[in-house]
């Protein structure tokens, strides 16, 4: 209850502010914004972490670029599949023209999406695969290429460790498709010289900092040699990495996704830990922007974007410094993502700190 009020209040204030900023600052409307007026809704399966808050605000910012969008709505499923389904049904019943959906529950929300699509709503699920087919169950699915993330990590690991070594790969809940795709990406560039010391396919952490800490200390105790840690949620490692100090060992190289807290942690600790190199890909908050562009283009009669899959760019590399050296903004909260297109201060506002 509090969460819904809080989040919707933040989002609506933000959307208003952004709408004003957009109308004054942006004289040109983007090509994906057509002339027909439409209403847009962003539906989240779970909105309660900083990544989601920044993503939601990014979606609102993108929608505000198009003056044809008359109404912008947001609903948070609060991690409850039933609520996520009823949110979709409610938005459809209210006659919203287009909806962008983060289908956390996967195929469980597909029937609701299909009903909304058949009722004439533009439905764009993104990031999490909900099953079904474009044109039958929804308008378009805008995925993210986790495989490419794996390839980027793999190439960097090869560059810093040409003779092979021991890799520890940590991902979220057991069997999550993101981790499986990333592993496939890494294996496509790394040969047998690179040994994954975690149980197949990855060490389960649920992306929870406290479980990550326990898993990591068990793995460190077990393995005398860990050359690289790969994780698809970098900031959750910040609490766990000091465990290496307990074993009087240097923090090893780290290939992961970005986060301000992680970058600041690197800045404070890399001198005391000679092996601590950091490589990050963008955490992917901007995935929502591409999905919003598609939904708005379909609903307002604009030009459809050419990209169909969001590919997270490489963000930081402490070894080569390209495309960016590790960047810490100690004056801003740890829970923001400097790789996101949204301005850093606006993100700080979005996460309420």
């Amino acid at each position: 209850m509090f969460k819904t009020l809080n989040t919707s209040a933040t989002v609506s204030t933000l959307a208003m502010a952004l709408a004003i900023a957009a109308t004054s600052a942006m004289a040109e409307t983007p090509s994906w914004c057509g002339p027909n007026e439409a209403s847009l809704a962003l539906l989240d399966g779970f909105g309660g972490n900083s990544w989601r808050l920044v993503t939601t605000a990014s979606g609102a910012e993108e929608a505000a670029k198009c003056p044809s969008i008359t109404t912008y709505e947001y609903a948070d499923g609060q991690g409850d599949t039933q609520k996520a389904i009823s949110d979709i049904n409610a938005m459809s019943a209210r006659g919203i023209n287009a909806m962008v959906v983060f289908g956390d529950s996967g195929p469980a929300v597909l029937p609701a999406l299909t009903n909304a699509y058949r009722a004439g709503t533009i439905v764009v699920p993104y990031r999490v695969n909900v099953g079904g087919e474009a044109g039958t169950n929804y308008t378009k699915f805008i995925g993210s290429s986790f495989f490419d993330d794996g390839v980027n990590w793999g190439n960097w690991i090869k560059s810093i460790l040409p003779d092979g070594g021991n890799l520890l790969f940590l991902s979220g809940p057991a069997g999550n498709s993101q981790g499986v795709d990333e592993l496939a990406g890494m294996k496509s560039v790394l040969d047998d010289k690179y040994v994954f010391i975690n149980p197949e396919p990855f060490a389960v952490t649920n992306w929870d900092p406290s479980l990550t800490q326990q898993v990591l200390s068990a793995e460190i105790a077990k393995n005398d040699k860990i050359d690289v840690i790969v994780s698809d949620f970098g900031p959750s490692l910040v609490g766990a990495l000091p465990v290496f100090g307990e074993f009087k060992r240097s923090i090893p190289a780290l290939a992961t996704s970005d986060g301000n807290s992680l970058s600041c942690f690197w800045e404070q600790n890399h001198e005391a830990n000679p092996d601590f190199k950091l490589f990050t890909v963008a955490t992917g908050n901007d995935n929502v922007r591409l999905a919003v562009q598609w939904a708005v283009a379909e609903a307002t009669g604009g030009t459809l974007p050419t990209a169909e899959i969001f590919s997270a760019p490489v963000y930081e590399d402490s070894v080569s410094g390209t495309p960016n050296p590790v960047t810490c903004r100690a004056d801003l909260p740890g829970a923001i993502y400097l790789s996101a297109e949204m301005a850093d201060d606006a993100q700080a506002k979005a996460v309420g700190q």
């Binding site: 969460k3 972490n49 057991a174 149980p199 389960v204 326990q214 793995e219 460190i220 105790a221 307990e246």
Partner: protein, 343 residues
């Protein structure tokens, strides 16, 4: 079963209980823990290495503290599902309110303790005074507490203050401070329960509220107090988590509910209420934590890790469920006699 044979079983049980009062839960838990340590030494030596233990003991200490809190409620035949909210609230208060500023840590801790007392008092009033079902009342209060968690944090994690990290994750004489906190709480709980008049009355009320009422004790007040004391335990656990984990989430308590009940049951405290076993509860917390470290250290797939833990729990709980059947066949007056003997 005839009356005579029921009586003889009950007498035999009462005698055993009188001569070796701690044996039941204590021996089982200690034996299982030693067995587990031996298995670790053979199959997964890294799980019992110094570094491995230093990494995992703080989490065992957390389970021990919430377990002791849950034990007090279970002793009164209750069940506290608001544990998840209680721990999470303490975590977000001690991370969000100081926001990295050491000077504001102490007031934040006081505020967290105040919130815990209020939450416990609501639970205590609903269950102890209004006689609501404990599961229903505490699940409702849990939702209320989570409302407060979101009001404080917006569901967003925050990096803890350096001072909190030093206190909770630091070491004194080579022992993690969190373990020392758990031991201090264990000593306090054991002393109050076993050596003070209040504690003896508390256990007697748990064993037989009707008899206690007949003896002139204020049953409702004691039952309500169990929830307040339990929330204080969850609060301490939450404060410690906020130092052990550098950037704890707003939902850190969720994963502790099941272990808290598991350690209470493994330690031999009956879910029907009665005597509590604080020392066994703390050893059971170590056992449970070591079990997950073992599963991680042998490097089996996640599915097998889950199965290993579940089997150990089923085994532990199975041992006691046979006892429960004996308890149920025991005549009520025998239970009174046994418990009043202890007072």
């Amino acid at each position: 079963m005839t009356d005579a044979s029921t009586q003889s079983v009950a007498n035999a049980y009462a005698n055993t209980a009188r001569f070796v009062p701690l044996a039941r839960g204590f021996v089982t838990v200690v034996a299982s823990t030693i067995a587990l340590l031996v298995v670790c030494l053979i199959f997964a030596p890294s799980a019992v290495s110094t570094g491995g233990l230093m990494g995992s003991l703080p989490f065992a200490a957390i389970i021990a503290i919430v377990g002791l809190g849950q034990m007090l409620v279970v002793q009164q035949g209750g069940f506290d599902l608001s544990l998840a909210g209680g721990v999470s609230l303490a975590v977000v208060i001690t991370t969000h309110i100081p926001a990295g500023n050491n000077a504001e840590l102490f007031p934040a801790i006081l505020f967290a303790i105040g919130c815990a007392i209020v939450a416990g008092a609501i639970n205590g009033f609903l269950v102890g005074v209004m006689r609501l079902n404990a599961v229903v009342a505490t699940i409702g209060v849990n939702a209320l507490i989570y409302g407060a968690v979101f009001a404080v944090s917006g569901g967003v994690p925050k990096i803890t203050t350096p001072l909190m990290a030093t206190i909770a994750a630091g070491k004194t004489a080579g022992i993690p401070n969190s373990v020392l906190f758990a031991l201090l709480i264990l000593i306090a709980v054991s002393f109050v329960l076993k050596k003070t008049v209040v504690g003896r009355r508390f256990e007697m009320i748990g064993a037989n509220p009707n008899a206690a009422h007949a003896a002139g004790l204020n049953v409702r007040r004691y039952q309500a107090m169990a929830y307040v004391c339990a929330q204080l335990h969850y609060c301490v656990a939450g404060i410690l988590i906020s130092g052990i984990t550098r950037e704890p989430t707003a939902f850190q308590g969720d994963d502790l509910l099941l272990p808290s009940v598991a350690v209470v049951v493994l330690a031999g405290t009956s879910l029907l209420g009665g005597r509590g076993f604080p020392i066994s509860t703390v050893i059971a917390a170590f056992f449970l934590n070591q079990l997950s470290q073992f599963a991680l250290a042998v490097g089996v797939p996640f599915s097998a890790q889950t199965i290993i833990q579940a089997l150990a729990l089923v085994f532990g709980i199975g041992v006691y469920s046979i006892r429960w059947r004996n308890n149920q066949t025991k005549p009520a007056h025998q239970s009174n006699k046994e418990e009043t003997d202890n007072v």
